[in-house]
């Protein structure tokens, strides 16, 4: 009984941290289960995918009802994230456990360094342009241009669709292999490469997470990679933590939390790397 409650409490912490820092809780679930409870990486990834689906589902529903997410663009890109997730989900059962641990250690280190860089650059960082304003009338000359037009929003125009599709396949592979939502790939691709405003890119990425994670979670489920007794308490905890976190995020000074988060990520990265090298 204690273990069930500890799992749920760990899930609450992961969901709360993730929501407060805008990262999603997925990145903490795998280290929590592997380093904290000794679960195999693959099983932890399966549980994490369930957590990611549950937390993104509630947020995506709200984003859609408020018309923040770009549904058309999300559906086109999620076709490619789902293909990536299919490939990644199958590959996850072929790769040895230490390789998965090593890949996760790299993801943790990359995320920690990205957060550090963002923190150091906070003062000097210019505000990100929220999509290029449309100055000329929309008169698409080619079918591809017309297609881009159909995927654009009212006050921004989508560009670099091919790059977005390629990035989405990569995001799907990362999501399926490591049990994360993949927003760390999708949001920068949509915002910086495709010209989608940051708020819309974040909401659209959230919308795509469900389908992406489902495509690989099905593989984990049918191949015995999800333990319901572990997934249940963890997912419930993450959902509660993410719900509380998203409602309090505006009122919390996240600077200290962010520093703590970076420390946790770096520590987890080192421990996962040790596991990958057979030292733990």
């Amino acid at each position: 009984m204690e273990v069930t409650l500890v799992l749920a409490a760990g899930g609450v912490a992961a969901g709360l941290f993730g929501a407060l820092l805008g990262l999603g809780g997925g990145i903490l679930i795998v280290p929590l289960l592997t380093l904290g409870f000794g679960a195999p990486v693959r099983e932890a990834v399966g549980v994490s995918l369930v957590c990611v689906i549950v937390t993104s589902g509630a947020a995506a529903g709200v984003y859609l009802q408020r018309h923040v997410a770009n549904l058309r663009l999300g559906m086109v890109l999620e076709l490619f994230t789902a293909i990536g997730a299919l490939v990644g989900g199958l590959a996850a059962f072929l790769l040895p456990e230490p390789v998965l641990a090593g890949l996760f250690a790299a993801l943790l280190a990359y995320t920690a360094l990205s957060m550090l860089r963002r923190r150091l650059g906070d003062a000097a960082e210019a505000p990100l342009a929220d999509g290029a304003p449309i100055l000329e009338p929309r008169t698409p000359a080619t079918p591809m241009a017309a297609w881009r037009e159909a995927l654009s929003g009212q006050d921004y125009r989508v560009r670099g669709l091919e790059a977005g599709m390629a990035g989405s396949v990569g995001a799907g592979v990362v999501s399926a292999l490591l049990g994360v939502g993949g927003g760390i790939v999708k949001v920068p691709v949509m915002h910086l490469v495709m010209g989608v405003p940051l708020r819309v890119a974040t909401a659209t990425s959230n919308l795509m997470i469900g389908v992406t994670a489902s495509a690989s979670a099905i593989i984990y489920l049918l191949r015995g990679g999800i333990d319901p007794l572990v997934a249940g308490p963890t997912a419930l905890g993450v959902f509660i933590g993410a719900t509380v976190g998203s409602r309090t995020a505006q009122r919390v000074d996240v600077r200290v939390l962010r520093a703590l988060f970076v420390f946790v990520l770096l520590y987890s990265a080192i421990e996962m790397a040790r596991r990958a090298l057979g030292l733990a």
Binding site: M75, I219, L221, A231, G232, A235
Partner: protein
């Protein structure tokens, strides 16, 4: 143009409701399963749980076993995004947006392929 916009707004509202409802149903089912685990004093780290078996699900639910509610909650969670894609496909087909309807069918085909490959290579 105005009718198109209100159509889009309505479709997004319905899909948003579907996603939220599916997620909350999944969370309630998982919550019941977790409550069952706690009340029974069972440890998640005990002996291995049998892999997912759809045939056992109704019996587990009728008997009030925690596994039944946990599995059903997980299935509802995993199926909800696919249901959203299916509903979007129907919505686009009714609006004669053939390309978007085809995109929805393609997404569902990838998910179906995932099921087939998982079963075939398991």
């Amino acid at each position: 143009m105005g009718a198109q916009l209100s159509d889009r707004v309505e479709l997004e509202r319905v899909l948003g409701l579907l996603l939220s409802a599916g997620t909350y149903v999944a969370v309630v089912l998982v919550g019941l399963g977790v409550a069952g685990l706690v009340l029974a004093g069972r440890s998640p780290l005990g002996p291995d749980v049998a892999p997912f078996d759809p045939g056992r699900l109704p019996a587990d639910l009728v008997a009030g076993r925690a596994e039944g509610f946990l599995w059903l909650g997980i299935i509802v969670a995993i199926a909800t995004p696919a249901a959203r894609v299916g509903a979007a496909g129907v919505g686009y087909a009714l609006r004669r947006e053939r390309i978007m309807a085809a995109v929805a069918v393609a997404v569902l085909a990838v998910i179906a392929l995932a099921v087939l490959l998982a079963l075939g290579t398991g």
